[in-house]
């Protein structure tokens, strides 16, 4: 019983960060219809930036966000403006291939700078444990989970009830009509891409404490993120957070009750099954 609770708690905490990763991708998808296959590698980049700042200046990951957040947003704006925008009108497959190329570029850029060994970035809160009844969880996980839900809620409100959010949604629903409202569509797309990478910087700072990282893990993060986003219904932010939890919990349960391998397979299996039976995602698209 305790084991079950432990697994559920662990899965819940990890799942919420999956949700956060997918929010960034969902945000980008919602205005540009663009699926970024380099997403996980940009997330890696965010983690390695934390690592570099820790190595150089002993900055705690939570503090280094002051630098990594604007840095990642700037990178995002540049990538959109110079790489993605020029081929925006082309076939979806073209954009997929471009972002696959980008994934290779970022992943191996990291490899070149940081080398191919596993690294860890510590944080002051890293080894703190939190007791919730019979369940023991690590402090960084709790922080990450609370922050993820906080950000998801903030984003939800922002998109629902501010002009900025309405502008984003209008570009998604009809770009031409949005332009006729006096919305600068190119700018909205660029800023959203930047915001998507900014969310990744936040996710990186939240997840990095104590998490082993390796340059080659980017693609796997991309796949998990894609799975969560698709299960959540692409642009439905409530659905995305829910899907993150489903994936996180199923992974944790699988690892405990079946085997390591089956635990790792669980997200993919769930993905394939739900994709086939409910292609519109867990919830109806918003």
């Amino acid at each position: 019983m305790d084991e079950l609770l432990q697994a559920l708690a662990q899965g819940f905490l990890v799942g919420s960060t999956y949700g956060l990763l997918a929010l960034g991708m969902g945000l980008i998808y919602s205005v540009s219809g663009l699926v970024n296959f380099a997403h996980g590698d940009f997330f890696s980049l965010g983690m390695y930036l934390c690592f570099a700042l820790f190595s150089a200046f002993a900055l705690d990951p939570y503090v280094s966000l002051v630098i990594t957040l604007p840095a990642m947003m700037l990178i995002g704006a540049g990538v959109y403006q110079f790489l993605i925008r020029p081929i925006a009108g082309h076939h979806l497959l073209m954009v997929i291939q471009l972002t696959l190329g980008l994934a290779l570029l970022v992943q191996n850029g990291i490899l070149m700078v940081f080398g191919g060994q596993f690294e860890r970035t510590p944080s002051i809160v890293e080894s703190k444990l939190v007791l919730l009844g019979p369940v023991v969880v690590r402090m960084p996980h709790v922080i990450a989970c609370l922050a993820s839900f906080g950000i998801a809620a903030a984003l939800y409100v922002l998109l629902r009830s501010t002009d900025w959010g309405r502008a984003i949604r209008s570009v998604h629903q009809n770009a031409k009509a949005a332009a006729l409202m006096g919305i600068d569509v190119g700018r909205v797309r660029m800023l959203t891409f930047a915001a998507g990478l900014g969310l990744l910087a936040i996710a990186a700072a939240l997840i990095v404490p104590g998490t082993p990282m390796h340059p080659s893990l980017g693609l796997r993060y991309t796949v998990i993120t894609l799975i969560v986003m698709v299960l959540g219904g692409m642009t439905n932010f409530v659905g995305i957070m829910l899907a993150g939890l489903v994936i996180g919990i199923s992974e944790a349960l699988g690892t405990i009750y079946l085997s390591d391998m089956l635990g790792m397979l669980m997200p993919y299996l769930i993905f394939v099954v739900i994709m086939l039976l409910r292609p519109q995602g867990l919830l109806k698209a918003a």
């Binding site: 002009d163 309405r166 502008a167 949604r169 209008s170 629903q173 009809n174 031409k176 009509a177 949005a178 332009a179 006729l180 409202m181 006096g182 919305i183 600068d184 918003a286």
Partner: protein, 234 residues
């Protein structure tokens, strides 16, 4: 108020508009007629700046706006109600109206404008919370016009507002246009509906294959044999 000189435009090297010259005086209701594919929407999109002009000049109140972005034109009060309504389907009526006034010029008085629009188009008030995509075609056209009005237009350009509407609704749309016109708004009305447009407008242009073939006071355009031929594509 608006002067267009020698406007040429097209898509990917295929010219659609050639040397179009049009003038719209302040407070006038000007009609732009033409058969399918004549280039009416292309013209109106050029005025909005979403289709670039390859040559020619567009002057709005004396200012050359040919190279301005769509955003700057909206801020100057050049507002288009597009063909096919293009409401934001997954947003409520209220959100659609809010987006109409999202530009910097209209933003400060947006709330009052929305009240005005809801008084003008009471049907929208009943549907205020409903998703725009679930409205009927006629209601969507009301919303598209309302959304344009929230933007505080100085020149309102309507692209085929009667398209696909039941006669009752067509009548209603033209009544509203008349009312706006009577209140002093400058309107460019793009239509295929020849008789109705000629009856309601002050002045008319007839476009055929990207060129203005007839222009004049609406009563004269009506009797011009070239108008009919432009329509039948002879």
């Amino acid at each position: 108020m608006l002067e267009v000189h020698g406007l040429t435009a097209g898509y990917g090297g295929n010219p659609v508009l050639e040397d179009v010259r049009i003038e719209i005086g302040r407070g006038k209701l000007v009609g732009l007629l033409g058969a399918n594919n004549a280039g009416k929407s292309t013209f109106i999109n050029c005025l909005s700046g979403v289709v670039p002009a390859s040559s020619g000049r567009i002057l709005f109140e004396g200012e050359d706006i040919t190279r301005l972005s769509p955003k700057s034109r909206v801020e100057r009060g050049i507002i288009q109600v597009p063909e096919g309504r293009l409401v934001f389907p997954d947003m409520s009526v209220r959100e659609n109206l809010l987006l109409g006034g999202v530009n910097a010029t209209a933003r400060p008085r947006r709330a009052e404008r929305i009240d005005y629009v809801l008084d003008l188009l009471p049907r929208l008030k009943e549907r205020i919370g409903q998703a725009a995509g679930t409205l009927s075609g006629g209601e969507q056209q009301m919303l598209a016009i309302g959304r344009g009005l929230v933007a505080e237009p100085r020149l309102l350009m309507l692209d085929e507002p009667s398209l696909g509407l039941a006669p009752r609704f067509v009548q209603y749309v033209f009544e509203i246009i008349d009312k706006l016109h009577a209140d002093g708004l400058t309107v460019l009305l793009v239509e295929q509906n020849l008789n109705l447009t000629l009856r309601h407008s002050d002045y008319c242009y007839v476009l055929e294959r990207g060129r203005v073939v007839v222009e004049g006071v609406s009563a004269h355009v009506k009797d011009d044999p070239r108008t009919k031929s432009a329509y039948l594509g002879l």
